[in-house]
């Protein structure tokens, strides 16, 4: 009994020493709720896996869906003496005061995933996706197919969100410019990017006698909803089918459908900003300077689109969420 007690005590002491020794770079991370989507889930996971004690960090995580809680957390981080604060903001405005406070206290701020409307000098860098480019990449891929006619069923995401605006923009522009590109039916999956709603829109189009040969859905879930409607109506899709299926986000299951030839295209929207930010912080800590920023202090994530004909299992392992 005594022996065990001594052992336990020794262990506790050893651990506490280790804890005291493990002094890493102090980072405060403010994110949105992981239940938002598969994208956010992957994003949160990526952050927690990157900013670990083993990697030289002493990180505190806060996930809050509302702006006031996020601002509160940021203020707490400044008083705690964090060296870096990472933010994915729930709202694009209202951050100026806190960011100035951070600047005065010498805390460096990184934005990830979402931009904040403020003076670019208030943050060190923003690691974000270029949603408009995602749309352009997808439309360029579609154009490369050289179809005689583009009759598109367009399923939009949450109206007004950066992802929807960017992904819709490229397609709408193209349809306005080209004679043989038409959006024959459209609809939105709503605030929750609802696959069931997407299914209904597709069902409505099918039953209304609308002919389409392309489905341009602004995320994977909604593309899947449309596919369910096509399957129910006996319309073939994918590489050997009548209808081309396009999705966004690159969820693992979606890429697997690409590999199986049931879908045709999936556009990437990288949630893996942590790796880049980790690299930037390490550069700064080593006394270096961050390079490659644009006028808004942004670093745009390098994102690609996958074609069912060329995708490999390796791509799925590397890029699947």
């Amino acid at each position: 009994m005594k022996k065990i007690l001594v052992l336990v005590l020794a262990l506790v002491m050893a651990l506490s020493c280790f804890g005291a020794l493990a002094e890493g770079i102090k980072v405060g991370i403010i994110n949105l709720d992981p239940s938002e989507s598969g994208y956010r889930e992957a994003n949160v996971r990526n952050l927690t896996e990157t900013f670990t004690a083993d990697n030289g960090y002493d990180a505190t995580f806060v996930t809050a869906p509302t702006a006031d809680k996020q601002l509160e957390a940021a203020k707490g981080f400044i008083t705690d003496g964090k060296q870096y604060i990472l933010v994915s903001a729930a709202e694009t405005t209202g951050w100026d005061e806190v960011l100035e406070e951070a600047k005065e206290a010498g805390v460096k701020v990184f934005l990830f995933d979402r931009m904040i409307e403020c003076d670019p000098s208030l943050y060190t860098a923003a690691v974000v996706s270029d949603m408009a480019k995602e749309g352009e990449t997808a439309v360029a891929w579609l154009e490369s197919l050289n179809l005689d006619e583009y009759k598109i069923l367009h399923i939009m995401g949450q109206m007004g969100s950066a992802a929807q605006v960017g992904r819709s923009g490229a397609l709408e522009e193209k349809c306005a410019a080209e004679e043989n590109w038409t959006i024959v039916a459209d609809g939105t999956g709503g605030d929750s990017w609802d696959p069931a709603e997407a299914r209904k829109i597709a069902e409505a189009a099918i039953n209304g006698g609308v002919e389409f040969n392309i489905v341009y859905a602004e995320n994977d879930g909604m593309a899947d909803g449309v596919v369910a409607a096509l399957d129910a109506a006996g319309i073939t899709h994918g590489v050997d089918g009548d209808v081309i299926i396009m999705g966004f986000d690159c969820n693992k299951w979606a890429l697997e459908k690409l590999l199986a030839g049931e879908w045709n295209y999936d556009g990437q929207c990288s949630p893996f900003q942590a790796t880049k930010i980790d690299e930037l912080i390490k550069t700064l800590e080593a006394g270096g300077e961050i390079e490659g920023l644009n006028e808004l202090n942004q670093i745009i994530s390098d994102e690609k689109g996958f074609d069912a004909k060329t995708i490999t299992q390796e791509d799925i392992d590397n890029y699947g969420l």
């Binding site: 992981p34 239940s35 938002e36 989507s37 598969g38 956010r40 889930e41 039916a185 459209d186 609809g187 939105t188 929750s192 609802d194 696959p195 069931a196 709603e197 299914r199 209904k200 829109i201 069902e203 409505a204 189009a205 099918i206 039953n207 209304g208 006698g209 609308v210 879930g221 899947d224 909803g225 369910a228 096509l230 399957d231 129910a232 109506a233 006996g234 319309i235 073939t236 899709h237 994918g238 089918g241 969820n251 299951w253 049931e262």
Partner: protein
């Protein structure tokens, strides 16, 4: 003779929903007869499937029809509605997925165990609602508001995965069609639940007890019926219905999204009960009316879609039509029509005053 008049009066109770359905059918016949076309096609999986608006209506309304049946029972017994059916449906789905994931593979037996587990969990949550309503006498809408607002969070807590993917041939057989049978499986699920409930009513006195509790629970108690038990039973039945609907919802897309599974279905279910000519204040009820109501709502939606009304605007148009149906079915209008018909024919009248306490 007595039997005939009974059948006639039961038909009269369904007058409003039948007229509504008739008008919808006529409207579509004049608008575009091809609306009713049904044909066979082969889908990606190589299965022959029936397609067409009618099939799509009956298929899509399945979850709603099943939940509307349960909602009718709760309405009849408690004189109020359960607005947490969608949220508890998400919980049911989360439990189902959790058990399936514990098994590792989706097979027939594992799905049955998972479904029974989900069913029990759902009944438990519904009994929580039922206890608040029956024992603590809290208004149903307030009592069920609790799970309405927190149910989806509980679902997420049970199953942390944001949208678990469950692609499997068994699930797609439930959500779409069984290979070899071109009729969508959800339609069979509605028939199954309907027949089971009808058998329960046929061989027990539950239907009568429920009505008497709904009409006057004091009198029911004096006659030896336990109102608390009857109310709890109605919630338990609703729980089973919700589990079945949830299973169909998950199978349709092969994924569980705890935020959007069966979302907003509570309102449509209450509407279906109302359109079906049931008194939302409890008492007499007709399951067939509610089922009819569910199909009317879906037919309305599909008709609007077929008329190329954008899905964003559909809700507004739907609201207008529903106001008309509900007002036409209101006691005041019914009484007026009843009186009018009585004066004309000097005898036959609709079941005005039905469910009046």
């Amino acid at each position: 003779m007595k039997r005939k008049s009974k059948a006639l009066s039961s038909l009269a109770e369904l007058l409003i929903p039948l007229i509504a359905l008739g008008i919808l059918i006529l409207f579509n016949l004049f608008r575009d007869p091809s609306f009713f076309g049904i044909r066979v096609a082969v889908n990606n999986a190589g299965n022959r499937v029936l397609t067409g608006n009618l099939i799509s209506i009956i298929d899509s309304a399945s979850e709603l029809a099943i939940i509307a049946m349960g909602m009718t029972m709760v309405t009849a017994a408690c004189g109020g509605q359960d607005i947490s059916v969608g949220a508890v449906g998400a919980i049911s789905g989360a439990v189902l997925v959790k058990i399936l994931q514990a098994f590792g593979a989706i097979t027939g037996p594992s799905l049955i165990v998972a479904f029974i587990g989900a069913c029990l969990a759902t009944i438990l949550f519904k009994l929580f609602n039922g206890t608040l309503v029956a024992v603590f006498r809290i208004q149903p809408m307030i009592a069920t508001l609790i799970l309405f607002s927190c149910g989806r969070s509980i679902a997420y807590w049970i199953n942390g995965d944001a949208t678990p993917q469950l692609a499997s041939p068994i699930l797609s057989s439930i959500g779409m069609t069984i290979p070899g049978i071109p009729v969508p499986t959800p339609i069979f699920c509605v028939i199954l639940v309907g027949v089971l409930l009808a058998l329960v009513f046929r061989f027990t006195n539950i239907s009568l007890y429920t009505q008497s509790v709904g009409i006057n629970q004091g009198a029911a108690r004096l006659n030896g019926i336990n109102p608390v038990a009857i109310k709890l039973l109605s919630f338990a039945l609703l729980g089973v219905c919700v589990s079945v609907a949830s299973l169909i919802g998950i199978s349709r897309l092969g994924q569980l999204n705890h935020k959007t599974l069966l979302v907003d279905i509570e309102m449509d279910a209450i509407l279906a009960v109302a359109i079906g000519g049931n008194n939302l204040g409890g008492g007499k009820f007709k399951l067939s009316g509610s089922i009819l109501g569910a199909y009317i709502i879906q037919m309305l939606t599909t008709t609007l879609y077929a008329m190329k009304v954008s899905p964003v605007n559909v809700k507004a148009y739907k609201a207008i039509v529903i106001i008309v149906i509900v007002v036409a079915g209101s006691p005041v209008v019914k009484e007026k029509i009843g009186a009018l018909m009585k004066r004309r024919s000097g005898g036959f009248h609709t079941a005005a005053g039905k469910g009046v306490r």
